[in-house]
């Protein structure tokens, strides 16, 4: 089965088959990371534009490494050093890049929907590396791969998500993905960050006020970071958060004995997660990173590889009318 996907904008619109295909295709790229020589010529001559309008280290490096190992070149745009500071619009920035003929765009943006906006207006594949509070599809895919590898299957797990779920695109993408595989979700965090509306995202989602309750019977625990840079309302005092919601070894014992602990990173040790849990045998954080590379290589291979679509040159074909 070929993927037949032009863009990867989110998990919500993917089928189980497409997700399974991507996870299966990541496997040879996992094996590839163990080669002494980690350089392919598969995407030689291709260019991937990495447009990170929101700061990111791990995701950006992961995509850059994935492209490089496939033999592709990258164009790098980063928020701090970009012309956005001078007032250029998203569309103009992307069109400028497109005029340099990349074979794919990876985009992270603070506005939900930005990748879809771009995909509708360019002729090349777009991969969403995180948009606002909407989705972070590659994170959910690498989380799923991690779970599937450790637990030998992806269906029907009890998944607890801890933290600021309201502002988390990682949580949303995970809810969509694991939801398609029959997961039962328990959401837990400070009340203002776990609103009732989240239960509408799927049939098996419940909120629980206390962490002890939330961890009982969990097969997978996804710990989210307290996002001090994104929220505008005054955040909870650290001590209060730790008391109510930190994942400690004692609390983790309430979950299944072989429960997995996932964290999208970066972790704030001592805040949402205790050192012992972060470094313990149930923690999957390092595998998540390795799997992220494999997932992104598989996606770049399938989406930006191959024959170029018959695209008209943007400068010639597009009108300059506002969209």
């Amino acid at each position: 089965m070929l993927l037949r996907l032009q863009h990867l904008l989110g998990i919500e619109s993917l089928t189980r088959e497409q997700i399974t295909f991507i996870l299966d295709q990541a496997k040879p790229f996992q094996e590839f990371q163990r080669h002494p020589l980690k350089k392919l010529a598969t995407l030689r001559g291709k260019t991937v534009a990495l447009t990170f309008f929101e700061s990111s280290t791990r995701t950006r490096i992961s995509f850059a490494t994935a492209a490089a190992r496939l033999g592709a070149d990258t164009m790098n745009l980063q928020a701090e050093s970009s012309s956005l500071k001078k007032g250029e619009s998203l569309l103009d920035t992307v069109r400028t890049l497109e005029a340099m003929r990349p074979d794919g765009i990876v985009i992270r943006h603070a506005s939900s929907g930005a990748p879809e906006f771009v995909a509708a207006r360019v002729e090349i594949p777009v991969i969403n590396a995180g948009d606002g509070t909407h989705e972070h599809p590659t994170q959910a895919l690498l989380d799923a791969l991690t779970i599937r590898d450790r637990k030998r299957k992806l269906d029907g797990w009890n998944v607890t998500i801890l933290g600021d779920i309201l502002h988390s695109r990682v949580a949303r993408s995970n809810l969509h993905l694991l939801g398609k595989f029959g997961a039962h979700f328990t959401l837990c965090g400070p009340a203002m960050w776990v609103p009732r509306e989240l239960e509408c995202l799927g049939p098996n989602i419940r909120r629980v006020p206390r962490i002890e309750q939330a961890l009982e019977g969990a097969d997978v625990v996804i710990v989210l970071r307290v996002q001090t840079e994104r929220i505008h309302e005054p955040s909870m005092a650290a001590e209060e958060y730790i008391l109510g919601y930190q994942l400690t070894p004692e609390r983790l014992r309430l979950a299944q004995p072989d429960a997995l602990v996932l964290h999208p990173g970066p972790m704030i040790r001592g805040l949402e997660i205790d050192d012992a849990v972060a470094d313990g045998p149930q923690s999957c954080v390092l595998e998540q990173v390795t799997n992220g590379l494999a997932i992104r290589m598989a996606l770049l291979y399938h989406l930006t590889g191959g024959a170029p679509a018959d695209a008209p040159h943007p400068a010639k074909e597009k009108s300059s009318a506002a969209d």
């Binding site: 002494p36 191959g306 024959a307 679509a309």
Partner: protein
């Protein structure tokens, strides 16, 4: 594309005898099996390499390591096809450095698959030697590639296709020559 079978090249029995013969040749012409490894090129090179290893084990009492190599990522024609082919895994559980590698495939044609296979191998290390073992050599080389161990040489035209059917992959066991029909 319609194909019509022109003739059978190898029956199940003949495949078996040919593999027996090639396995013995490999052992004879390797000057010792200490560093010998067999690497099957996906797809049909894989069961062939496993059968060869089994024959060598039964007759020469030597355990020759076997690996599988997927060449998809090393193909030279990816930019000409719009949707990317599915990648399978390469499974080579032993180091390749200084080994006496015998690549195994079903049909040798243009030689491009073997070029890709060698690229894949060099990503893993530096073999002492690489030789090629194929069931059928059908000519029409486009690159300077040759097989050291050949089951059968077959003259073919450009439109003809050599189809290998193996039990493990196709639930059938024979090699046919087919031709494309307008």
């Amino acid at each position: 594309m319609r194909v019509v079978e022109k003739r059978q090249l190898l029956s199940a029995e003949e495949i078996s005898r040919t593999l027996q013969r090639m396995a013995h040749e490999i052992v004879e012409k390797s000057g010792g099996t200490k560093d010998l490894v067999l690497i099957g090129v996906r797809r049909r090179g894989v069961p062939l390499s496993q059968r060869l290893a089994r024959i060598i084990k039964e007759s020469a009492r030597v355990d020759v390591p076997v690996g599988t190599l997927d060449i998809t990522l090393y193909r030279d024609d990816l930019s000409t096809i719009s949707w990317q082919p599915v990648v399978q895994s390469t499974e080579i559980e032993f180091p390749v450095d200084d080994r006496d590698v015998v690549l195994v495939d079903d049909v040798l044609y243009t030689g491009r698959t073997i070029r890709a296979a060698m690229n894949g191998l060099f990503d893993l290390g530096r073999p002492r030697r690489i030789r090629l073992c194929v069931l059928i050599d059908r000519g029409h080389r486009e690159l300077p590639v040759e097989a050291s161990f050949v089951g059968r040489h077959v003259q073919t035209t450009d439109t003809e296709i050599v189809e290998c059917r193996l039990q493990e992959v196709d639930n059938e066991e024979r090699v046919m020559l087919v031709d494309r029909v307008a």
